[in-house]
Amino acid sequence: MTDTNAVPSDAAPSEPDARPRRWRVARRRLLIGAGATFGSLLVGVPIALEYGRPTLAQWMLERGAGSSEVPESSLVWFELTGDGITLHVPKIEMGQGIHTALAQIAAEELRVPFEALTVVQADTARGFPSATMFTFGSTSVSSLYTPIREAAAAVRAMLAAEAARQLGVDTQQLTAADGVFQVGGTERRVAYTEVIAAHQGPWQEPAEQPELRPAGEFTSIGRSVPRVDFRAKVLGEATYGYDARLPGMGYGAFVVPPRFGAELESAEPGDAAAMPGVHQVVIDVEAGFAGVVADTRTRAWAAARALKLSWSEGTRVDNAALEEQVTAGDGVVLRRDGSIRDALSQGRLVAAEYRTPMAAHAHLEPLAALARVEPGPAGKVEVWVPTQSPESVLEDLHAALGEDRPVVVHVTQLGGSFGRKGGQHLAVEAARLSAAVGTPVHVGWTRDTDLRQAFYRPPTHTRMRGSIGPDGMIRGVEQVSAAGDIIWAVAGLPEPVRSLIGFDPGGLLGLFLPYDLPAYRLVNRREQLPVPTGPWRGLGLMPNTFALESFLDELAEAAGSDPLTYRLAHLRKSGEQGERLRTVLRTAAQMAGWSESLPAGRGRGIACSGDAGTVVAVVAEVDLSDGRLRVTGVDVAVDCGLVVNPAGAKLQAQGSIVMGLSSTLREELRIQDGQVVSDNFDTYPILSMADTPPVRVAFVGGGDVPHGMGEPVVGPVPAAVANAVRAAGGPRLRTLPLRL
C-alpha cells in the first residue's frame, strides 16, 4: 500500500530502452505486453473513442526512444509480477485522495487486498497521453471507475485461466479472494504472484468481458481505507515539487514583472554576478527572461533582486477599476423562458445585486520545478514538477526550448493546487537556467512571488430581479451577470472567437437556477481583465451560487416563506436533479435541526447547488450576538452517487466547506497600482482552526457510479452563511467577503 511518484534519483538520465517491447491489442479491448512474457504481465486499458470506456483501439506498439516498456495510450495500466501488483495511474494526487480511491476500485475486481496494491503516478514517458493526465473538473474517479473495473476483472480472468492450466483444473472450479485462487472443495491454493511467476508464453485475453461484481458484494469499494500516500507524508518522505532534488543541482531564481502587463526592456547583471555563491547570470531579454543560478536558494533570490532591470509601464489597475469593468449589463442571452417583461411588470418586485472579489488559490506549497537539460539544441529535457496538466508543461517546454527536444514531465506530489497548478511555467524557467549552466536547476518561488504572479479567481457581479405573485410563488427571474475570464484566460482560443462566443464556459458552472420559473431570462458576459484570471476550485460555481441562492432567500423573505419550504416548492418537478436537490436539502435541514428555534442573534441559512453530477445542500449556523459574525456550525448533505471511500469523500466535503468559509469570511485579493498587495498570509489571511466550526457531513442518494467530489461542495457555502446572517437578524450581505 504505497504511492509512488517518479522521484529524481542519483541515477543517470533514463536511457532509451535497448529492447523495445511489442504490444499487441488483444481483441481490441486490452493492451497486453507481448514481449517478455515470462513471469510478468502488463495490461493497459486503451483510450476509448467513446469517453471513458475501454472499447475500440488499434495499436501495434513499438516503443520509441526514451521510455520504458509500457502500454501506450492507456487510461490506466496494471503491472503484475511475482512480487506484486502495481497500478499505474495518469491522474495526479494533490490531496484529493484519488490514488487511494482508484486502487480501491482496482482491488475490488482483482479480488486482492487493497493494501497489496502499489499505486504509481505516471510521467509523460510512461504510456499515458499527456492529455489523459490533465486532472481537473472533479472527474478523476468518475471517469476511471468503469474502465478500471473492467480491466481489473479481465486481468483476474486471465490469471484464473492461467491458474487453471497450471493446476490442471477447470477455470469454473476456481474461486478468487485476497489474491489467491482456491480449487473448490479442496485445500489447493495458488497465489496470483505464483501464477504470474510460473507463467510462460503469451497471455490470452478472456473472450468476453468478465462479469463485474455486484455492488451488494463489494468489499473494497465503499469502505473507508487508509490513504496510500500518507505514510510517506507523515514520515517526511513524500516528494513534492519543492522537494525534488538531483545531485549537483543549482538553485535558480528569475525576475518577475513589477506590475501586471510590464515587459522586460533591458537587463544587466549589475552586482549579481559577483555576489557570493552565484554560478551564472542568464539573460535573454527577447524571451523576457533574466535569472541567476547560485549554490543556495537564498543566494539565488538575493542575486535576482540585484539584477539591473528596466520594465515597460504595464497596467496601474486597482480593484475599483476591475470591478467597474466587471459590471453586469450587456451580454449573451443564455436563457429566455416565458416573458420576463410580463412577469416583472406584475406582482411584487424584488431586486438585488451581488459581488464576489478576486481570490488566490493560496496552496501552501508555492510553485516550484526541477529541470535537467542535456547539452545541444536537441538535448533531452527532463522536469519534475507539481502540475495538474503535464500536457501544458510539455507544450510550454517545447515552445521555449525547441520542438526537437525529447521532453519528459515527471509529476510530483502537489502541496495543494485548487486549479492554480493547471499549467506550471516554472518548469520552463528551470529548464532555461539548466540549459544555460549545464547542471540540473531547481526553482522555487517565494510566497510573495507566488501570490503576486498567480492567476486569480475573477471578480463577478450579478444583478437579480424577480417578481412574486399573490400566491407567494415566483413569477419570473431576470439574472444579468458579468465575470472575468476563467477558461478563456488559459485556453488557446483567439480573442475574436472568445468575443464572438461572449461568455466563458467556466462561468457557466452554477449559473443556472434549478427552479421551475414561469419566466427566466439569463444574460451573462465575460470580460478579459488586465490582470491574470483563471480556474479556481469550482470555477464559476461558488460566485454564481452566492448570488442565486442569496436571491432565492430574498424572494422567500418577500413572500413570507420559510427558505427551505420555498426551495422545495420551486425546485424543478421534471428530471431527477430537482428530486436529488430536495433530498439533500431535507437531509441537511434535518441534520441542523432546521425547525428548532434559536436564541436571539443566532440564525441558520440554507443553500444548494449542483456540479459535476453531484448535488449539495449546506446549512450554516451563525452567531451575531457579540456584534461579530461567527459561523458556529455547518451541516452538509451530498449526493455524489456511489461513494468509493467514505473517509476520503468526507475529507473533501469538510475541506471544501472550510475553503468556502475562508472565501466567505476572509479572502479578498487587493490590487493597487497594477500590483498585488496581498502577498502573504498576513495580508491575505485564510481561515485558521479557531474560526473553523464543526462540520457534519452526510452522503445520501448512492447509485451505480461515482460523481465528482473535488469541487461541488464549495458551491453553497457563502450563500448559506449570508442567509444565516439575515435569519439571525443581521443585514442582508451581498458582497464577499461578508462583513457586518
Partner: protein, 157 residues
C-alpha cells in the same frame, strides 16, 4: 559548524542561512516545508530543544548546540534505518489523514510537543496547540481528531 539533527551530528556549510534551507537543501531533509517565509503558516516547524520553532525564522548558527527534530526524526528506526514503528502522532495522522500533507510538519510537531507536556489534552488544549498552523485543504476538524487519537495511542504505548 555542526548541528544536532534527529539525534545525529551533521557538518554544515551555510551557518548564516535559515535553518529551513540548511535542512532541506544542504542536508536533503525535505520533510520540513517552506510555506510563507514569515513564520505565519507553520509548514517549516521543527522541534528545537523540544519546543516547536519556525525554521524559516532562525539561522543555523543561531540554533547552536540545541537539538533539532524534524518529521524525519520521529519514527523509531532499526539499525538499517528502516522504520520499526511510527511515532503515535504519525500513526494517528495515518489513521486520520489530511489531504495534501504540506502542512504536516507544523501539525505533527506541535502535537508531539503538546503530548510531551500534556498526555491527556482536552479539545481546547489541542486546538490551542494547533492554532499557529494553517491547512489550506481545510482539515482543521480532522487535525483535532488526529491529535486526540494520538494522545490515545501514546497512552496505550
Amino acid at each position: 559548524m555542526r548541528l544536532l539533527i534527529n539525534g545525529r551530528h551533521h557538518e554544515i556549510e551555510h551557518g548564516d542561512e535559515p535553518l529551513l534551507w540548511v535542512l532541506r537543501d544542504e542536508l536533503g531533509l525535505t520533510g520540513t516545508r517552506y510555506g510563507c517565509g514569515a513564520g505565519i503558516c507553520g509548514c517549516c516547524t521543527v522541534l528545537l530543544a523540544g519546543q516547536p520553532a519556525r525554521s524559516c525564522r532562525i539561522t543555523a548558527a543561531e540554533v547552536g548546540e540545541r537539538p533539532v527534530v524534524t518529521l524525519e526524526g520521529l519514527a523509531e528506526r532499526g539499525a538499517d534505518g528502516q522504520v520499526v514503528a511510527l511515532h503515535p502522532v504519525q500513526q494517528a495522522f495515518v489513521e486520520t489523514p489530511l489531504q495534501c500533507g504540506w502542512c504536516l510538519p507544523g501539525h505533527v510537531l506541535c502535537a508531539v510537543a503538546l503530548l510531551a507536556r500534556d498526555p491527556d489534552p482536552d479539545e481546547a488544549a489541542i486546538a490551542e496547540a494547533a492554532q499557529p498552523n494553517l491547512c489550506r485543504c481545510g482539515g482543521y476538524n480532522t487535525i483535532k481528531a488526529a491529535v486526540a487519537r494520538a494522545a490515545e495511542l501514546a497512552r496505550e504505548a
